[in-house]
């Protein structure tokens, strides 16, 4: 009662008189809107939600530059033969055009390199969702025997011998090179790989001529109840990020998908629903890259899938005329973002 009318005593403390210049300093530091600052280093496509950025990895231009340098540096592989960019090529929307990209010494793993477009928005990374953040994901290609075959300790030791990296790392993160900043710099660069400039985007933004009649018809079919593609491929990335078995295959022994992470037999054959943005640029398809064409996938869905025991009930047979099939493909091609694959901002 008595105290409530009193000015907080610390404000009256004589010590705080000396604080006044610091208050101004603090206030002026805070007056820079962090969002504004970050907008300057990446461009959010129209209609995209705010970029999810972890508290411990704010994006700066210098960090993106360091991350990009690491992304395209073959020093990340054990024999300095390949970089992240060896399998994630900008011309293919940061995916690859082979079924399974060769790792060091030509080693072949078991999964198709995914597109990195808009990876910032994925709630979990990898086709099976095994790693929770872009930061932790960096360890996977770095240390997988069939990819870069390297080791984080050895990478840090290698980079600490490189004067340019030592200087750049210190400028961005302060101190000597550690795993902390290596994974954060790469993740920061990857977060800026934003793709939202397709013909479909222009159409959504009000340009009625951005899609032709065939593409518009394909769009209607895509989101129709008859085909139901939009049941999973929805939202601004055309994926709901759920884990589904689409029944393209009848045997998932070679790669059980989500079951590798959950150990739940009901998850055998389930993979994260992929984004369909840039889908026509990212052939071949499916988790193992064994499918060459989008037509092949549509035809498999049309017969209702293989009937594998964990297949989603959303996969139901449908019929399409040849013209409708062509229109559906036209719509998928309209999801290509040619700005994204040619933007020098993303290139090494």
């Amino acid at each position: 009662m008595f105290q409530s009318k009193v000015i907080p005593s610390f404000l009256l403390s004589p010590v705080c008189i000396f604080c006044i210049p610091f208050y101004f300093l603090i206030l002026s530091a805070c007056s820079v809107d962090p969002d504004l600052k970050e907008d300057a280093v990446y461009t959010l496509p129209e209609g995209f939600p705010p970029l999810p950025i972890p508290d411990d990895n704010p994006i700066t231009a210098e960090k993106i530059a360091l991350g990009k340098k690491l992304f395209f540096d073959t020093a990340l592989s054990i024999d300095s033969a390949i970089s992240c960019g060896s399998c994630h090529k900008q011309q293919f929307a940061f995916s690859d055009d082979v079924a399974v990209s060769p790792g060091v010494e030509g080693r072949i793993g078991f999964r198709n390199a995914p597109s990195l477009a808009n990876v910032a928005y994925y709630p979990e990374l990898l086709k099976d969702g095994g790693t929770p953040t872009l930061e932790t994901q960096v360890f996977v290609p770095l240390e997988t025997h069939e990819e870069m075959g390297f080791n984080m300790v050895l990478l840090v030791e290698r980079l600490r011998k490189d004067a340019a990296y030592v200087q750049e790392y210190n400028a961005v993160f302060g101190g000597e090179i550690q795993p902390f900043g290596i994974v954060r710099a790469i993740a920061a660069y990857e977060r800026t790989l934003l793709s939202g400039y397709s013909a479909y985007d222009a159409y959504l933004q009000g340009d009625n001529h951005a899609l032709n009649a065939s593409e518009k018809n394909g769009m209607q079919l895509f989101f129709s109840d008859r085909l139901g593609c939009g049941n999973c491929h929805n939202g601004f990335l055309l994926t709901d990020n759920s884990y589904q078995c689409d029944g393209y295959f009848s045997d998932y022994t070679a790669d059980p998908g989500r079951e590798r992470i959950t150990f739940d037999p009901a998850d055998i054959g389930k993979f994260r629903v992929p984004t369909l943005r840039n889908i026509a640029l990212t052939a071949p398809y499916m988790h193992d890259g064994s499918v060459a064409s989008l037509e092949d996938i549509i035809d498999t869905y049309a017969v209702g899938g293989s009937g594998f025991e964990n297949q989603s009930t959303l996969i139901q047979p449908f019929t399409l005329t040849n013209e409708e099939r062509t229109d559906l493909i036209s719509f998928l091609v309209s999801l290509n973002d040619y700005t994204f694959i040619s933007d020098p901002e993303f290139a090494p």
Binding site: F2, S9, L12, T136, V138, F139, E143, Q178, P179, F263
Partner: protein, 263 residues
């Protein structure tokens, strides 16, 4: 004007009040003479503590284990290249049966060095030590890049972490086994045991008095041959846990016999 006077007198009254409320005592909750009502620290008395170590002396059938050496295990010539594991959640049990949590929470145990600090432990008599082989679930699925090189939970070479599963390898044994009975161990194998279900809790009876009189060391034997009991080293010798649960479970079930108090 009147308001200002009231304010100024209030401040003085509060200042006097605060002065009157000062109670002398020890304000550190960790001290023996901690006084919860005290607000003026006049000195604290602390329990006597001393650093306690835990040593893991590595053996195979009583012979010292050196990584890279060859031993006969389960009747099979076997070279052991990497023998590493995590110890965590370390608690000392005192004479009253209470658990004293060791300040060092995670140990990355290698054959060399084999001496690990548990931090400062209160003086007294202890009857047992409890720990886990493995890492608690929250830490297991955390972000390993948060730890600098050299930290037990930081990146290791060879790897003690699976990126694709985002979890630690609790126990790692790499080597070569003689798979065709020619006496030469040339079949490379990997036994990488992890995931939450494979954490094993261990209690080892051990009488230790922590004081300033002696070295305060828990001397343990890590008897690596015990982990292979029932393992068909020649024919079924590789598991990354999820890809060979049968072998992983054999090793898991052998862990209680793995670490023993030194004879």
């Amino acid at each position: 004007m009147f308001k200002n006077k009231l304010l100024i007198s209030s401040v003085f009254l509060l200042a006097i009040g605060l002065q009157a409320c000062k109670r002398e005592g020890c304000t550190d909750p960790n001290a023996l003479n901690y006084d919860a009502n005290a607000n003026k620290d006049v000195g604290c008395i602390y329990e006597a503590v001393h650093e306690v170590e835990m040593h893991f002396h590595p053996y195979v059938h009583g012979d010292a284990l050196f990584e890279g050496n060859t031993y006969t295990i389960e009747g099979v010539a076997t070279t052991l290249n990497y023998c590493r594991f995590y110890v965590s959640n370390i608690r000392l049990v005192n004479a009253a049966g209470e658990e004293i949590v060791a300040p060092e929470h995670y140990l990355y145990v290698q054959p060399d060095p084999d001496e690990y600090s548990l931090g400062d432990i209160p003086d007294g008599d202890y009857t047992a030590i409890r720990f886990d082989i493995g890492i608690d679930s929250a830490t297991n699925h955390g972000d390993p890049s948060l730890y600098p090189l050299g930290d037990p939970l930081g990146a290791q070479s060879p790897n003690m972490h699976w990126g694709w599963l985002n979890g630690y390898i609790f126990l790692r044994i790499d080597g070569e086994a003689d798979s065709n009975a020619d006496g030469t161990p040339d079949d490379a194998f990997e036994m990488h045991i992890g995931t939450d279900d494979f954490l094993v809790s261990v209690e080892i009876p051990y009488d230790l008095t922590v004081s300033d009189q002696t070295e305060n060391i828990f001397h343990m034997d890590a008897n690596w041959e015990q982990l292979f009991v029932g393992v068909d080293l020649a024919n079924d010798n590789t598991s990354h846990t999820t890809d060979n649960l049968t072998l992983a479970n054999i090793i898991k079930n052998n862990i209680p016999n793995f670490i023993q108090a030194e004879d």
